[in-house]
């Protein structure tokens, strides 16, 4: 225990937490740049670090970015990240009433509370799930991979077909290179660089960061005539005890966040929206929601940050990412030679406990930084796009080169940047692509093993109770959005009649 604490509080580790949280808040605050983007861009900076320092920096970015998204949501009514959409509903009205400082303080404290509760859930549940996972065989792991992907496709809403195609593309890219079982090269098209496969980091940098450069630049050209928004910031006067009055909302929303986050393939967007709706449903003053209600701001912020620790539960215990941001974290772990999964929890391994303990400190650092420099962070929104986009391009190219000191990865990144842009502009969701990419190898190897065990009988997945249950859940998460859409359509049709 003492060893673990000593590891966490090493000066280098604390410095990396600070750097990560700062970078996360800054990038998260910039409208349209999400947490996945933040982690992808910062990933190359971790290549020379030890695994703990790099994880602290990226986890800091993850937590900071999730909170940072609320800054632009509150100040300019534009969510910095998808998970802060619900923050706008009451955050911006508060800002209009001259209470921007109060709104930011509420968002910060709620985010911190959600984050801490999520850490407790991670520390409490992760070892239990890892213990259970040691009893899982190949069919169960295969079913879990299916579940992770179908949940990611399901949250894409009515774009299920596009989601399935994207997940398939992710799986396809994971097959490039030498097949680890038979040693047969696949889809290398005569290029020796492809023998070791497509670098997930180069792909993620391209799909998430470089495509964003094109999107933002084109948007800037098309909308350059639109007048820039002025930010009016006012000092916070609200006390922590006034926020703590809503402890029930904080607890409920954090609980929702933990549950949603622990489901592979989901993320902060759903939990913040769900937390907001639940808070409104249970509130004594639901009529105040949407008009600057403190409760309406507390709920989504606690809800989205409560996913940050919970998304690590499936990652650390099963090797399955909780959301797209955590899928990028897997890229970082792979670069460090760490294979996430139940083996991390075997006796004697302190690494995983150092990471989980560090997450507590990261949330505390986020609170300290947020309280001290909130005004400074609020001004980040003013950074001109003209500077931002070429700067991101520089980072992407340098980052791709740093992966293996090879220009080939720059080519890969540019290819995926252009592909990412085309897919985004045609409404294809990117999360299933990235989740499938990181799950591809795990999925194929477990499918192969299962079929070998059953001598080619695919019914093996339905004969094992856990695997059957997970597959049924996967089908439900895939079909539910379609059924819901049909029901809504029917209801609307009736209402019109």
């Amino acid at each position: 225990m003492f060893d673990i604490i000593l590891q966490i509080i090493q000066p280098m580790h604390i410095l990396m937490m600070f750097v990560g949280v700062t970078a996360g808040i800054i990038i998260g605050a910039l409208p349209g740049l999400n947490v996945v983007f933040a982690i992808a861009v910062l990933l190359p900076f971790t290549f020379g670090m030890d695994s703990i320092a790099s994880m602290y920096m990226l986890l800091g970015t993850y937590c900071g970015g999730t909170f940072g998204g609320s800054i632009s949501a509150i100040l300019i009514n534009t969510p910095g990240t998808p998970s802060s959409c619900a923050t706008m509903f009451d955050g911006y009205p508060m800002s209009e009433q001259g209470k921007a400082g109060d709104a930011l303080k509420i968002a910060l404290f709620s985010s911190f509370s959600g984050g801490i509760i999520s850490c407790v859930a991670l520390i409490f549940f992760a070892p239990q799930i890892a213990n259970l996972a040691t009893k899982f065989g190949a069919p169960e792991f295969f079913a879990l991979c299916i579940f992770g992907m179908s949940a990611a496709i399901g949250i894409a809403g009515d774009k299920v077909i596009k989601g399935v195609i994207m997940a398939s593309l992710g799986l396809l890219f994971s097959t490039v290179g030498i097949d680890s079982t038979e040693g047969v090269p696949r889809f290398i098209f005569g290029n020796m660089y492809l023998l070791s496969g497509i670098s997930p980091v180069a792909l993620m940098l391209g799909v998430f960061a470089l495509s964003e450069v094109i999107v933002k630049s084109v948007d800037f050209i098309n909308n350059s005539h639109i007048k820039k928004i002025e930010i009016v910031y006012s000092k916070a006067t609200i006390k922590v005890k006034d926020i703590l009055k809503y402890w029930k909302t904080i607890l409920r929303s954090s609980f929702i966040g933990v549950i949603i986050g622990a489901v592979p393939g989901t993320g902060g967007g759903i939990s913040s929206m769900l937390s907001y709706n639940e808070a409104k449903r249970n509130s004594k003053n639901p009529e105040k929601f949407g008009k600057g209600s403190i409760e309406g701001l507390v709920a989504p912020e606690a809800g989205n940050n409560a996913t940050t620790g919970a998304t690590l539960i499936p990652l650390l215990t099963l090797g399955i990412p909780g959301d797209a941001s955590v899928a990028v974290l897997i890229g970082a772990l792979t670069m460090q030679g760490i294979v996430p999964g139940p083996s991390l929890f075997r006796e004697g391994s302190k690494w995983v406990y150092v990471i989980m303990g560090g997450l507590f400190l990261i949330n505390v650092i986020m609170l300290i930084q947020g309280s001290s420099f909130i005004r400074l962070f609020a001004n980040i929104i003013k950074v001109p796009i003209e500077i931002l986009t070429p700067a991101i391009m520089i980072l992407c190219v340098v980052g791709a080169f740093s992966i293996s000191l090879s220009v080939f990865n720059i080519t890969v990144m540019i290819f995926f940047g252009i592909l990412g842009y085309i897919l985004r502009t045609n409404d294809f969701p990117l999360a299933p692509l990235i989740i499938a990419l990181v799950l591809g190898n795990l999925m194929e190897s477990n499918l192969r093993r299962s079929l070998m065990l059953s001598q080619g009988d695919p019914l093996i997945f339905f004969k094992k109770p856990i695997s059957l249950l997970i597959i049924l859940l996967s089908i439900f998460s895939l079909v539910y959005p379609i059924i819901k859409k049909m029901i809504d359509k029917k209801k609307n049709g009736k209402a019109v009649c």
Binding site: F45, I161, E182, R186, S217, I221, M393, V398
Partner: protein, 160 residues
């Protein structure tokens, strides 16, 4: 309607690609070891085959549903179509293509001349395309590029 037509094109493209990959690319690109053929039910080709079956099936479903939606819209007469001229199409894709070319140029120059010269040329071109006339922005960008160089070169020891 415009997006639906785009979707129709994309689904058709994915369908054609999945057929090409299934019947031509996979057999050519994944060469099985002859001694294993016929004895092993799960080969290096099995998983890619499954992937393309899923892509093909999804694209076909997408194609049919999109086609039906377009037909329904025509029937309802909800939307009057504004015809896209060749010029408007070119105008829509002009800027994305320019930025893509700039990024490709940066990657090319990075390979041929190294970080410093590539960074001296392309980011300023980026600003120029965005019609930026504020010299301060150029200075800030070059300052940022120098910081990135120093961090990667001397802290992370990556020879840019």
């Amino acid at each position: 309607m415009k997006q639906l037509k785009k979707d129709l094109f994309i689904y058709a493209l994915f369908l054609i690609l999945s057929v090409i990959f299934y019947f031509i690319v996979i057999p050519n690109e994944i060469v099985l070891r002859s001694s294993w053929g016929g004895e092993v039910s799960f080969t290096s080709r099995t998983f890619p085959y499954l992937i393309f079956i899923i892509v093909g099936a999804s694209s076909l479903i997408g194609l049919i549903t999109t086609f039906l939606k377009i037909k329904q819209k025509h029937k309802d007469g909800i939307e009057k179509e504004t015809k896209e001229t060749f010029l408007t199409v070119i105008n829509n894709i002009k800027m994305p293509v320019v930025f893509m070319l700039l990024i490709i140029l940066y990657g090319f120059l990075f390979d041929k001349t190294g970080y410093l010269i590539a960074t001296l040329i392309v980011p300023s071109l980026f600003l120029a395309v965005m019609k930026c006339r504020k010299w301060q922005y150029y200075v800030i960008l070059y300052g940022f590029a120098i910081i990135v160089y120093l961090i990667f070169r001397f802290v992370l020891r990556i020879p840019l």
